[in-house]
């Protein structure tokens, strides 16, 4: 077998594992529900356009609303998909034939994670188009900022998917979903509340240090920066944020691989 073909063969297990995730995405109703929700938003935008959008700030508000809705819906879908991958495979005992192929356990983790991120990214793109296209652009926005926003959203999806998979091996599904959903939505505010409790300088510094080990999803959400018409991030900042997402994803996946390897099936 020649080298390129051999290289492709190495990724075949990942593709096979990922295929299953994609099939499940279309089989389940989650995507359909989110599309209906987004459809309601699109309907609302068209009604507003019929009434007439007189103020650019109103159009900007609608744009922000649509993009935020797409952002949240894509993350909700990714969370739902990722949180059930491993528990479902274990419960349904479909993991054994997969591992018997042979496919290593960490390959299963990475394959499923990649597929969850791909599903989330595709959903994000679709919902983003639904949220962005219908709204009239009555103020100026940076195209590069938009691209940075979307790329960082994918990074955010990857962190959430990795965390969901790691936690799915440690806590029950319901706890996993609620914990991560709450953290995703209000995690930054909760951290703010907690660190604000410490008044002494030393304790506060310690609290701030350890709080940095919890992922802050708001760092990867630049929608408001985009709709505020602010210039794109400098290259260093953008790469730093990508690295931020990559590091948290990697650590969560390492945790998942570690727990999965030691877990009896």
């Amino acid at each position: 077998m020649n080298a390129p073909a051999a290289g492709l063969m190495r990724f075949r297990p990942l593709l096979l594992i990922g295929r299953g995730v994609w099939i499940e995405l279309f089989r389940r109703k989650d995507l359909a529900v989110l599309l209906i929700l987004m459809g309601l938003y699109v309907l609302g935008v068209w009604v507003v356009r019929l009434v007439g959008i007189k103020n650019p700030s109103t159009a900007t508000f609608l744009l922000n609303l649509g993009m935020t809705l797409a952002y949240f819906c894509a993350h909700v879908l990714t969370l739902l998909i990722a949180a059930r991958q491993l528990p479902d495979e274990i419960e349904n005992r479909t993991l054994y034939p997969l591992l018997a192929r042979p496919v290593e356990r960490h390959t299963v983790i990475v394959g499923k994670w990649l597929a969850c991120v791909a599903c989330g990214a595709a959903t994000l793109l679709l919902l983003f188009l639904l949220g962005w296209i219908p709204v009239p652009k009555m103020e100026s926005y940076h195209g590069v900022m938009l691209i940075q926003t979307l790329v960082l959203h994918v990074a955010s999806l990857s962190v959430l998917a990795a965390l969901a998979m790691a936690l799915s091996l440690l806590v029950p599904r319901g706890v996993n979903l609620v914990l991560l959903a709450l953290w995703f939505v209000v995690g930054r505010n909760v951290l703010g509340f907690l660190t604000a409790r410490f008044e002494e300088a030393g304790l506060k510094e310690i609290a701030l240090w350890f709080s940095a080990y919890l992922p802050d999803f708001s760092k990867l959400n630049l929608i408001t920066r985009y709709t505020d018409g602010i210039a794109p991030l400098a290259g260093g900042s953008f790469l730093g944020l990508l690295l931020y997402g990559a590091v948290f994803s990697a650590v969560a996946l390492l945790l998942a691989a570690y727990v999965f390897r030691r877990r009896p099936l």
Binding site: T60, F61, A196, Y213, G229, V251
Partner: protein
Amino acid sequence: MSRSLSRIGIAVAVGLFLLVPLWAGRLRPDRYQGGRSRDVRDRAVRNSSAVATMLGEIRTSMSDVLFIKTERYLHSGVSYVPHMEEQMLAVTSETKEMDEHQQEVAEGEVEEEHEPYGEHVAKTVIQPKEEDFRGFIGDLHRKVKPWHKPGDPHQHTDGTELLPWYRITTLADPHNVRGYTIGGWWLKYKNVDEAIRFVQEGVRNNPEAFKLHYMLGQVYFHKGRQLVRAGKPESDPGVRDCFEKCRVAYHKAADLTLIQRPPAGPEDPERPDWTIYVETDARAALRLAVFTEQYYGQPEDALGMAKAYLEVIPDDEPLQRIIERLSEPEG
């Protein structure tokens, strides 16, 4: 080979993760100046649009909802239709108005009456009987909920109940400058050291916001005056420290104002974010920088500062009067 590469990769990832508190804190993409979402006029326009009417309460951002909460608690639960006159959009105008009210409160009563804002009668969310088609249901509503006749003077609380809302506002949005400025203003009457810490937190989160440095100066000044009223001489180190920090804060506010103010001020079409309200606060910062330099810094530098500022805002009459006074020969 691939195994050692993956081990290296794992080590790098774990190493970067352990050092996250050092490098991730510098990544603050939400830290920027201006922005349409933070513009007061844009918000007012948004909230008055047909979209806002259709979406109802949903249209207001979280910070607007929290602002409405503070208004409600200030009025002892009575829901008024937002009735702030436009000049109140400036920190200086709003705190001046509240200062007058707080003088009344300090004379003994928790709730004091005062006149409605301006010439307009502020309407209540629950309509009065003569405008309410609901009959006995409306009567019941007016009895069950806190309600005042729109034409009657408002009754304000002493502000204690507003404080948690300002704290929540700033925790939900650390870039809500108004939350820090007005919250800090209210807090200084209850615990001035806590107010200083609160406004300093606002300065850390928004180092370029001149209004926050201005409010920090206000709070330090308040603390200094409190110590003097308590019997400490002005030469006391604690008192001098307060006024020195006040001077430094006003200077910082003035420096930021000079950097950020467009040459034409609020008339500049390229800078719609620099409204007349921002200009009001900016001028106050410049005047107070001169004032504090005169009384707590180097009086000989105060005249030079005033003249330099007057070149930027040549039509500012208070600065002109300060220059005239400083230029008078002593004795």
